[in-house]
């Protein structure tokens, strides 16, 4: 039996076993139930009873009203604050370095892909490199490159609205009227 007065987040994780899972060898006892009628009819008990009927939504709202999202301000002594500042600066430095390294890695990967495509573009049917320029005009030169660059079917399962990344504002030049194939 669940008591509706306790909000979900404050409920205990461990609950007594249900009667179904009780081993058969156990004596069948009446399941535990809280006392419904008070011993006395004193005002205090009555009040307590009333208090338990609070709505858990109200409890939660009151909790979040009194507990702001802003953490309390840091109040430190001078040297403590200076140590905190040092640690913070070190953390920022560390993060900046990580970011720079990640960017460098991306750049390296991009360059590597680009050079691979360039090699494909200048490759003839025998897999040999040809000179850029007039020699790269043959039918089989760069065939693999052309296949790799095909954009067939990439928008098949995606609505066409997503062909352009969704922005807050329309583009400055919304439609290129001069475009021809």
């Amino acid at each position: 039996m669940r008591c509706p007065a306790i909000p979900f987040s404050f409920r205990p994780t461990f609950r007594p076993l249900s009667p179904r899972s009780r081993p058969t060898t156990c004596l069948h006892r009446k399941p535990f139930s809280p006392i419904t009628a008070p011993f006395t009819s004193s005002a205090r008990l009555l009040r307590k009873d009333k208090g338990e009927k609070k709505d858990h939504r109200i409890t939660s709202i009151r909790y979040h009203l009194t507990h702001g999202l802003t953490p309390r301000p840091l109040r430190f002594s001078r040297l403590r604050a200076l140590r905190h500042w040092t640690i913070h600066r070190a953390w920022l430095t560390f993060r900046a370095k990580q970011r720079a390294a990640a960017e460098l890695e991306l750049q390296r990967q991009y360059e590597s892909m680009r050079s691979a495509c360039e090699m494909l573009r200048l490759m003839d049917e025998n897999g040999m490199a040809v000179e850029d320029g007039m020699a790269a005009q043959g039918k089989d030169v760069g065939r693999l490159y052309r296949i790799a660059m095909e954009k067939k079917g990439i928008w098949d399962s995606v609505p066409i609205e997503y062909a352009r990344i969704q922005m807050d504002y329309p583009a400055k030049e919304a439609w290129n009227h001069g475009w021809t194939r």
């Binding site: 040297l79 200076l82 600066r89 070190a90 430095t93």
Partner: protein
Amino acid sequence: MTAGKQAVRPLNTCLRCIRQPASSNVSLPAAPSRFFSSSTRNSEEAQLQKSDQFSDLDPRLVDNKRDEKRLIKTGVLPIGSRRRRAALRTAPDIPFEQLPYQCFQEARKVLQEDRQEKIRQIEVIRKRIANLESQDAAVGGETGVKEGRLRSMRNHLEELKIFADVNDPIVKKRFEDGEGDMNKPIYRYLADRKWRQHKRMVLMQRVTQMNLVPDVLPKIDPVADVDLAFGRRNVQPGEIVDSRVSEMVPRLRVQVFDKGERLVTVVVVDADVPVPEKDMFTYRCHFIASNIPLSPTNTSVALSRLDPKVDVSKEAPPKHIALPWSPPWANKGAPYHRLAVFVLQQAEGEIVDTAKVAKNTKRDGFILRSFMDKHNLKTVGITMFRTQWDEGMAGVMERAGLGDQVNVVFKRKRVEKLPYKKKDPSRYH
């Protein structure tokens, strides 16, 4: 720290806990060794304490009532709480950068590594600059390309110098204590940043709200911190100053944030001199002094001490002051006068001939723009104050030789009301 020392340390602390309260603060070298004996030595101690009059009670470290009372009797108040003082006494005096906090030490390691990297970058860019400088200008191609590259590289070098030190907690601490060496770029950078965060904003607000900027100069971008004071009276920008205070020659503190020596000219202009005949206002120059040396460490400009009086008696041409200070004045009933103090940087290696300036410049109707154009000056600093008629103004004007102006009173022209005329009642129906 060795294991032995570590083991001994708590013992030490224990010993410190049971130190004698009375004699603890007075430095007696033999006191701890004679802790358990109570023979004649105690009386000697008492004598000693009496004789030296508790002069070595440290207000930072006194931690019992008796010593505190003694200290207060000598006229020195103990610093901080008793709890803090007691803690300071027992705490070992470790320098800040060696404080044994693990995260802090790790952070310092990271920052030091970063600094080493920045220093390496500085060396590299210095070499590059040297290489480029030694190169022939024709190699790079167009003229001006080399200069542009050199300029950007030097800017980058200055940036790196700041990046190398900006994360150092000791630098921050020293700057906050006001012990920064302004010859070093990092302290200049920090001072500049601090100035721009508040003081410069206030200054610019006053300057623009009181319309000094389009009235006296078309635009201004101050890069130096200027403080104005009359004697010991500091003046905030735009403050209304009593005429008896502004009668004396002011004192400037000009803090520049870029390195090197330079010569400046200080000009004080009154922007609100009324011309009743034409129903307009004009300018008046109150002070011009030129060729004042300034550097990041040489900040004080005492305008009264620029040309010592000895020189004047010798009839030598003044080196600095072209127009001496004339106290600002305002007529009774006239609105307040805005007095702008400009610090103008002279071009590199140029010296203003003060005798010529004194001869050619008229105080009334002084136009700062043409003065700046003539002498090739650039604005670096500005501050302002205001003056208006007050009870001391008559005396100031008498002393300045303006006795005829004392009784001139400006009054508002009364605008007569138009006669009442009953309106046509039919328009209300």
